[in-house]
């Protein structure tokens, strides 16, 4: 048995994993990154439109600050987020952009003087300040009060991961590519590494570490139609769930992005709408103002996706041989803008749709896009129930997105969480009591168990076909656990998934060839994916309210009185057929922003009994506070939660030091 030792084992080579490893390494701890693919090919790469950080450089971002970013994020989450974590995030986001700027990210920059932009379908001239010339620029995005999304054309994730992966190379951090973690090694209370399959040779290895971090991104491939890369199958979520100790938070919160190209499901950025693009129906009518007069195309993603599907249901969709869709019109932005700032969008339209978005509308329909749920952690990024296990980025439920993430907040979270959790992992490794003694017997037991599972699949030549199981699961999720959900459909999904789970325990493969064996990969992953699908479907069936992206047609109101709480799912025993659900209440009395109307979407919700008192207290504090910093401090102090190196205010042109 081959055992690899390290201080920090990072599972996942995307932005969160890379940044976290850099943080730990710079504090003197060895880190190894495991990645299914070369790090720069991770799904972080696909982030197009940008990263939110309240720099306030552009004219339409003037006056922006952490407070406004905080409120936008909490409203976006439909009050599902942990507000302390949101505060940690918004205060660190500007620092993250500035760090990346120093590391070489070619952020698009502000150009002084007049420029023409499109706002609400109209050409408008904006004058950028002289003193902002050359600073990092921001564009508009959905659900934000200010232009806050920093970007590199529409290849922001690409530029970010290129710079961060290059820094990891500079820091001599090994990335063990084509390696997949199959199981976490743990004794029920302490995580000590992972059993890993080499995807080139097929052999199993054990990695033993003081701290193990899951940074494996989302689980979009549980659905048939998703913008996610093919590797986003939720394996990090699944191995945490299978410990029986770590919990997954809010798995029923699944985001659908309004503008996936139809039918391929490839994303075109929210920046299209942020920069002035419009949604139109079969008749060419711009319909969003009819539904959302305040934010129109730029309401939050959950709201826009629902409105689009609602509009299609009313018979307004454009028809094609693949089904119905709507149109995204960016022709009004002009050729130069598209070729400079929406270049990737042009490429995608050209190669996959055969259209030129300078002249033609783009066929779009919502598709699964983001997994708000993830490995539940404390603000330090550590699992509260499995010591030594950390998580960051989309794979984590940290929890700054609650039930709906704002566009531009996910790549931002990857690097911000990487910075913050990287420091806490280093602290963890610094503590003498956390030195990992290698329990050889335990490691051996875990490796043997995984080997036995794989052998059983390979030996079962006439078992269930892995691809068929996967397709059936994806179809169930897409048809019954989508944008609009009902009790009856969710029950059907849970029932169907339980049957698939039983069948998946009898999965077999035709090929026993050594080496990569892609069929075997599908087989062992599909067993895990069905469990994850069940945590989503079951969590959704129990949550009898609508919040953020979780919309129940039979319970259309947000119900703070009963459901202002986070779902925690665990999978207690191997033979279980459902996750065990627990709930963690959110404390209104400690909220800086008590629950209310989001500013878009439904105005109708059921208040928590403590909300009016807390809201009155917050209003009172606003009237008496000396400045915004004092007000914030009085309502919900959070700075002590940040690592000392990341504390402190952020300088802006309008808030000089």
């Amino acid at each position: 048995m081959k055992i690899v030792y390290t201080d920090v084992l990072v599972i996942g080579g995307g932005l969160a994993g890379l940044r976290l490893a850099i943080g730990a390494k710079r504090r003197g701890h060895d880190a190894i990154i495991l990645s299914l693919v070369p790090a720069k090919r991770s799904h972080s790469k696909a982030a197009q439109g940008g990263m939110q950080a309240s720099l306030g450089n552009v004219a339409k971002g003037q006056g922006d600050n952490e407070d406004i970013h905080f409120e936008d994020t909490v409203r976006g989450s439909d009050w599902g987020a942990d507000q302390e974590v949101v505060r940690m995030f918004v205060n660190t986001a500007p620092k993250a952009v500035r760090e990346l700027a120093a590391w070489g990210v070619p952020w698009s920059r502000v150009r002084k003087g007049d420029r023409q932009v499109v706002i609400n379908g109209q050409k408008v001239t904006i004058t950028e300040r002289d003193e902002a010339h050359g600073t990092v620029a921001q564009r508009d995005f959905g659900g934000t009060k200010k232009w806050r999304t920093c970007y590199v054309a529409d290849a922001t994730g690409h530029a970010m991961i290129t710079a961060v992966a290059d820094q990891a190379i500079a820091d001599s951090i090994p990335v063990h590519e084509r390696k997949e973690a199959l199981a976490l090694i743990h004794d029920g209370g302490r995580c000590l590494g992972a059993v890993v399959r080499d995807l080139t040779t097929g052999e199993l290895l054990a990695y033993v570490a003081k701290a193990t971090a899951i940074a494996t991104g989302g689980a979009g491939r549980l659905y048939r139609s998703t913008t996610n890369a093919v590797i986003c199958e939720g394996m990090g979520h699944a191995i945490a769930l299978e410990t029986g100790a770590a919990a997954l938070g809010n798995m029923e919160a699944v985001q659908f992005h309004p503008t996936a190209i139809f039918p391929a499901g490839i994303l075109v950025t929210e920046g299209c709408r942020g920069d002035g693009g419009l949604l139109k129906d079969a008749k060419g009518h711009r319909f969003m103002p009819d539904y959302e007069p305040e934010k129109k195309e730029l309401a939050s993603r959950d709201v826009v996706s629902r409105r689009m599907e609602e509009h299609i249901k009313k018979g307004n969709g454009a028809k094609s041989r693949f089904g119905e869709h709507l149109w995204l019109d960016i022709t009004l932005l002009g050729e130069k803008h598209i070729h400079t700032n929406l270049r990737e969008v042009w490429d995608i339209c050209h190669y996959f749709l055969g259209v030129d978005p300078v002249k033609d509308f783009i066929a779009v329909r919502p598709a699964q896009h983001y997994t708000m749920g993830g490995v539940r952690t404390t603000p330090t990024g550590e699992s509260p129930t499995l010591k030594g296990l950390f998580a960051a980025g989309e794979a984590a439920c940290w929890d700054m997105h609650g039930f709906n993430r704002l566009g531009g907040n996910s790549v931002a979270e990857t690097v911000v969480a990487g910075m913050i959790v990287g420091e806490f992992i280093a602290d963890f490794c610094d503590r003498a009591e956390n030195a990992a003694t290698v329990p050889v017997g335990l490691v051996q037991e875990f490796v043997q168990r995984e080997q036995a599972k794989l052998s059983a699949i390979v030996d079962r030549r006439s078992g269930e076909d892995p691809s068929t199981l996967k397709l059936e699961m994806q179809d169930l999720m897409t048809s019954c656990v989508g944008i609009f959900r009902t009790g009856a459909e969710l029950e059907k999904a849970v029932d169907g998934l339980q049957k698939l789970l039983a069948r998946s325990r009898n999965v077999g493969v035709k090929s026993s060839a050594p080496g990569p064996n892609p069929e075997l990969v599908t087989a062992y992953r599909v067993q895990k994916m069905i469990k994850l699908a069940l945590t989503i479907a079951y969590g959704a069936s129990v949550r009898t309210e609508s919040r953020g992206a979780h919309f129940r047609s039979d319970f259309p109101r947000r119900n703070d009185a009963e459901w202002l709480k986070r779902t925690l799912a665990t999978w207690k025993g191997d033979s279980d057929t459902l996750p065990t659900l627990d709930y963690e209440p959110l404390d209104v009395k400690r909220m800086e922003l008590p629950p209310g109307w989001r500013g878009y979407g439904a105005k109708d919700y059921i208040d928590h009994p403590e909300t009016p008192a807390r809201a009155a207290l917050v209003e009172g504090a606003k009237a008496t506070a000396a400045d915004r910093f004092a007000l914030q401090q009085s309502l919900m102090p959070y700075e002590h939660l940040l690592p000392p190196v990341l504390r402190g205010r952020n300088e802006r042109i309008d808030e000089p030091f």
Partner: protein, 247 residues
């Protein structure tokens, strides 16, 4: 394909070889599939793997032309499989793994190892000025045009097409390829990188670097991101000649 036109039967001819199977020999294997509207090689290969043969190895990640995973030889030319539409190809499509890179199996090659090696040798990262970056302060300003010029070269996705199409790379194991030279050109442009032409000459001023290029420039023709490799290599060579002769 226009609506109503009959869909073709396609033969996907794949170069199969799994070096981990004892006695396996490279061979061409044909798969017959029915073409679908808007079919890409991503869709075609997954269709084959799901229905006909689960054992074929190939690499896709983003399937949107962004990540660079799926470069392969498509009818003899390096390209990204995910964004190649079958309708633009003949009824027999021949697929082979990229040359130069280590073979994993079938259409899957280890570009990651090659790229990491190149990056380490060329120190392909921004060499930041000494001293801590003050993250609380307003970022250093950069001319917007310069930021765009850097981004233009920063768009490389390390897919390996330029290396697979390169004559020198077939002869010299340590040639850094257009991908490496483009990176040096990118860091030269970047005022945040403290290195000078003297430093860059140490990295690429030899036959494994810019002087190994024979100017065949297939790299330029096959780059899926249309990077301006021809001008960048020519420009870099001129600068390196200057550095090497006048130093």
């Amino acid at each position: 394909m226009a609506d109503g036109q009959a869909l073709r039967k396609l033969t996907i001819r794949i170069l199969r070889y799994n070096p981990r199977v004892p006695g396996d020999v490279p061979r061409l294997q044909d798969y017959e599939i029915e073409e679908a509207d808007g079919m890409t090689l991503f869709i075609a290969l997954n269709d084959i793997r799901d229905r006909l043969d689960g054992s074929i190895a190939f690499d896709f990640v983003c399937r949107a032309g962004i990540c660079g995973s799926c470069a392969m030889m498509i009818d003899g030319r390096p390209g990204l499989a995910c964004r190649t539409l079958t309708k633009n190809l003949g009824a027999v499509i021949t697929l082979a793994p990229l040359p130069v890179f280590e073979l994993v199996a079938d259409l899957s090659v280890d570009t990651g190892k090659w790229m990491r090696g190149m990056s380490e040798r060329l120190e392909a990262w921004v060499h930041v000025k000494q001293g801590e970056i003050d993250l609380k302060r307003i970022e250093d300003r950069m001319d917007p045009d310069l930021a765009e010029e850097i981004f233009e070269l920063d768009r490389c996705i390390e897919c390996g097409c330029c290396v697979a199409g390169c004559g020198t790379a077939r002869m010299r194991d340590d040639f850094v390829g257009a991908v490496g030279l483009n990176k040096i050109a990118r860091f030269r442009l970047d005022p945040r990188d403290t290195r000078t032409d003297e430093d860059f000459y140490e990295l690429v001023g030899d036959d494994d670097g810019v002087f190994g290029c024979m100017s065949l420039l297939a790299c330029h023709d096959v780059c899926p991101k249309q990077l301006p490799l021809q001008t960048q290599i020519a420009f870099l060579r001129r600068k390196m000649v200057k550095q090497g002769t006048l130093g």
